[in-house]
Symmetry: C2
DNA sequence: AGAAGCAAGACTCATTTGGTCGCATATTGT
DNA sequence: ACAATATGCGACCAAATGAGTCTTGCTTCT
């Protein structure tokens, strides 16, 4: 249930990588804090070609700026604080939603006799909200923060 | 993204149906508030055989009690207030989670170089929480409650 | 006995994902 | 100018998952 696709996962990783790059810009880059698709793919051991396509999608969505040519690459279009995980996921996976019934036709096949829709929509909204509040800057965990025992005892996910 | 499977959707609908049945029990049922798989499938126009399997799964998970034979059927094992949407979804879709990386092996293939995991886990927990709080009793909307303009202006889901 | 119902599995078909290849185009260092 | 390094885009493919069907057997009620 509620699975995030690998592409979205990769996308978030890449974004995080770029956000870190932006913090400590190295010498003479056409765009500050840029990195090539291959470099990022290499860093995380993910298929370079696939990552390339993901980054292109992200660029088209306006979350990244790209620059071709030697020493080119991608960089964040905005500040890391201004990009939400929701945007990233939506850009990659498309606006699919929990209800499994919002189709292209606007209404569900079951519309009318499905009474479940509205309550689920609220859940959906909450999740959207949640994801919107999570910005990619938040993904950068400063290793110096103390382990929060507050949220210990979380769920244990057992294999299916 | 974050799609609920149709099976889970069906399951929730069925549960709701049974919850309503339980409220106004009709005459001489082996179990109070019971309905056959076919009856429910009929009511919502969903494939009977498929629903049957879903209900069986739910029964195995202990959310429903079943009774074979003429006038048999399924009924809620517990009160509608004591069954969360989370349980239903988990029973049907299995404990898949947002991260797409929690595998049977316990750790992800990318473990080590994936830095995204922890923040996403928190999101995951929040969603779990959300779903756990939604009980199937909540799905029964009494038509007499006023339309809450408070949550108007929610997301507009556009076709992909 | 026979009908109504659940239980369980194998099996098919369509969709979605994850991933690859090839080629075109843009940029830049030398 | 030219080669090296990148992105941009589309077609393509294989594996996994999802949705739904079929068959066979068991249980209970009338
Ligand atoms: S499944 Fe479409 S409205 Fe519920
Ligand atoms: S994808 Fe598995 S830990 Fe991030």
């Amino acid at each position: 249930m509620l699975r995030l696709t690998k592409k979205a996962d990769y996308g978030l990783m890449a974004l995080k990588y770029l956000a870190e790059q932006a913090q400590c810009p190295s010498a003479s880059q056409p765009i500050s804090g840029a990195a090539s698709a291959k470099a990022i793919a290499d860093a995380y051991h993910i298929p370079p070609q696939l990552l390339a396509k993901i980054l292109q999608t992200l660029a088209k969505a306006g979350l990244l700026v790209s620059h071709a040519g030697t020493n080119g690459g991608y960089a964040l279009a905005r500040d890391a604080h201004d990009i939400s995980a929701f945007e990233v996921i939506r850009a990659i996976d498309g606006p699919l939603f929990i209800t499994s019934c919002i189709t292209i036709h606007g209404t569900c096949d079951l519309a009318g006799h499905c009474t479940i829709k509205e309550p689920l929509r609220k859940v959906n909204d909450s999740i959207t909200d949640l994801l919107s509040k999570l910005r990619i800057a938040d993904l950068i965990e400063h290793a110096d923060h103390p382990p929060d025992a507050a949220l210990a005892g979380g769920l244990v996910t057992i294999a299916r």
